[in-house]
């Protein structure tokens, strides 16, 4: 049954709040500031509660079932993260407090910087960026500052593989960099010949996601990085797929110069509809001075019985502040908790399980769904949602049919280099039983695509709303709530 919108539930004159008597003299608003057409819903409190409770029952969440788009949406967020983030010492502190009164918060930030350094091999960390793309933006600003500092002003181009996240070219363009696309080769690696051709004295850097969005570890990673370094460019790592690497390889050891972490992906903090992200950036020794200000550090060494005093340090050639106060502190607490609960061995185990689960799905699905770059994958893989003998069936139809089976669809139509792409990432927390249940339904849908294609083309059949008209929604940008005229 379709839940009406809150505007449809409105009834003239009904009210959910009673204002207290004014304790100040009333004043009339000037006539020209009044508006007569503000169609806000008029609803009683109980009907507001029921409406939003009904809507909450329609939600799909990781608490109910698997997300086959994995950490890109949200991997499982352990409950203890929420417990620590609600500790009174954290929730009742304020960023304007004197540092002596918030040493606990500062120790947490300092320790999180240290742990991220240990996981990545970088020399220093900023915790400020608000999310992954903000981390990229910060990173490209650092790359630009580095070249300018050496008075090397010609470096205005950023190279980006064609498998990259769309945020990479967007972040670079916002800074005024020219973006050059580098193609992938037949095995899904960066095409070395094309990369060589694109590198010259105008190369500021390469933005590289490894493993890439096909879920593949670049087999020539060392050559890729060497080519860019030899041309004088820096290599930026997009850490979106760090979930495959924790405790196994450190990005800095590959030669990556700087990288953002997605705390909200890899380190299990809520995001999307569930909360803000956090995109700390780690840098190599040569880039430490350019980090955003401030970073957390020891400003007075420990003395005999006294612990050290933690405070804020301004890097010598800082690019400036990227975020007010200290970034999304509540997210930092959750990521800190995740790392502390797992320990080094636990993080490695999480990555190994994420990779194992993805390869299990790949092994069970590759005979039913074409996998264009079919080799051992990391934490995810990309299949095609089409068959030569099932005309008119698209990835979108498969995604919509999954909804009928009460499963969230995987990412579709990304990465762009795979036609009708279905990107599947199970994450480390899914059991063999839940993976098998997912595979069984995927295989069943592939059968339906051939035997009764209309079932897919008209899906979803069992959702509160049928297939939405995405074309009309994109072309006809009129949002009109509650206006009945």
């Amino acid at each position: 049954m379709r839940e009406p919108t809150i505007f449809e539930l409105s009834s003239n004159g009904r009210t959910g709040v009673i204002f207290p008597e004014a304790d100040v003299p009333l004043a009339e608003l000037p006539e020209k500031m009044l508006r007569r057409d503000l169609p806000l819903p008029e609803i009683s409190e109980i009907d507001v509660v029921r409406h939003f409770t009904h809507l909450s029952h329609l939600n799909y969440s990781i608490d109910e079932n698997i997300y086959p788009l994995g950490s890109c949406t949200m991997k499982y967020n352990p409950r203890i993260n929420e417990e620590t983030a609600r500790m009174p010492g954290f929730i009742f502190s304020h960023p304007m407090q004197a540092i002596e009164t918030v040493q606990g918060n500062l120790v947490l930030m300092y320790q999180l910087q240290e742990w991220l350094k240990a996981i990545s091999g970088f020399h220093a960390i900023t915790l400020q960026p608000a999310a992954g793309a903000h981390g990229e933006f910060t990173g490209v600003l650092i790359i630009r500052a580095y070249h300018r500092d050496r008075n090397d002003l010609k470096r205005t181009k950023i190279l980006i593989p064609d498998s990259a996240h769309g945020t990479n070219p967007a972040s670079s363009s916002m800074i005024g960099m020219e973006v050059l696309t580098v193609p992938s080769d037949a095995r899904g690696n960066v095409d070395l010949a094309a990369l060589k051709k694109s590198c010259d004295e105008t190369t500021a850097g390469l933005m590289l996601t490894n493993p890439n969005t096909l879920g593949l570890f670049d087999e020539n990673i060392q050559q890729v990085i060497d080519i860019v370094h030899q041309a004088g460019g820096l290599v930026y790592g997009d850490g979106a797929n760090l979930n495959a690497l924790m405790g196994i390889i450190r990005p800095a050891d590959m030669g990556i110069d700087l990288m953002h972490f997605n705390l909200h992906k890899t380190f299990s903090t809520p995001h999307g509809g569930g909360g803000p992200g956090s995109g700390p950036v780690g840098v190599s020794e040569a880039l430490v001075d350019f980090l955003p200000e401030p970073v957390v550090g020891v400003i007075e060494e420990a003395e005999e019985d006294l612990p050290p005093l933690y405070g804020f340090i301004k890097p010598a050639k800082t690019i400036g502040r990227m975020k007010s106060f200290q970034g999304h502190f509540g997210v930092l607490v959750r990521a800190f908790t995740y790392i502390m609960m797992h320990g080094a061995a636990g993080l490695r185990n999480a990555s190994e399980m994420a990779v194992l689960n993805a390869n299990y799905l790949l092994a069970r699905l590759r005979n039913t769904y074409k996998v264009p770059y079919d080799r051992i994958c990391m934490h995810e893989f990309v299949a095609e949602g089409r068959w030569p003998d099932a005309e008119g069936i698209h990835a979108l139809d498969i995604a919509k049919r999954l909804i009928d089976y009460n499963l969230h669809p995987p990412t579709n139509y990304f990465p762009l280099i795979v036609p009708e792409a279905l990107m599947i990432e199970p994450t480390e927390t899914e059991s063999k039983q839940s993976l098998d249940a997912f595979v069984d339904i995927m295989i069943k849908i592939a059968g339906e695509a051939h035997s009764s294609p209309e079932l897919l083309k008209n899906a979803p059949h069992h959702a509160p709303v049928k297939r939405l008209d995405e074309v009309k929604a994109a072309r006809d940008l009129t949002l009109c709530c509650g206006r009945t005229e």
Binding site: G166, P388, L396, Y413, F414, L416, P419, E470, V471, A474, R475
Partner: protein, 130 residues
């Protein structure tokens, strides 16, 4: 799939129609089909602009993806199709006609020789389909 014989094609799925020094450029039927329903076309050039092979002419957005349209040849822009910003769906319904994107005066009419003819382009599309 419609691949008119009289046109030339670029690997990135643009078509060119040539008359003397004048060339008209748009995207192919294959390209519009791959993109699916197009909801936004932003032509980033205007008349008088100098363009090279590879210059971005326009950004196209569909419900599935966003893509750049690249210049298959070099020259000077004479006219752009401003109707597409209000009626992007023309790219789906009439890619070789009403949805032309730019007209240019070519620097060197020999440039088109490096492009594919319809037979080569048809094979190129078929290879990518399955």
């Amino acid at each position: 799939m419609n691949i008119p014989k009289e046109l030339k094609y670029e690997k990135t799925d643009e078509w060119v129609s040539v008359k003397d020094k004048m060339a008209t450029v748009g995207i192919s039927d294959y390209a519009q089909e791959q993109l699916s329903d197009i909801v936004y076309v932003d032509i980033t050039l205007s008349a008088g602009d100098k363009v090279n092979k590879g210059t971005v002419i326009a950004t196209i957005e569909s419900v599935k993806a966003a893509a750049d349209v690249n210049m298959p040849i070099g020259g000077t822009v004479v006219e752009v199709n401003s109707a597409l910003s209000d009626t992007p769906e023309l790219v789906n319904t009439d890619p070789y006609g009403a949805a032309w994107m730019v007209k240019v005066e070519m620097d060197d009419p020999q440039d088109v020789k490096s492009l594919m003819d319809s037979a080569a382009y048809e094979k190129y599309c078929a290879d990518r389909t399955h």
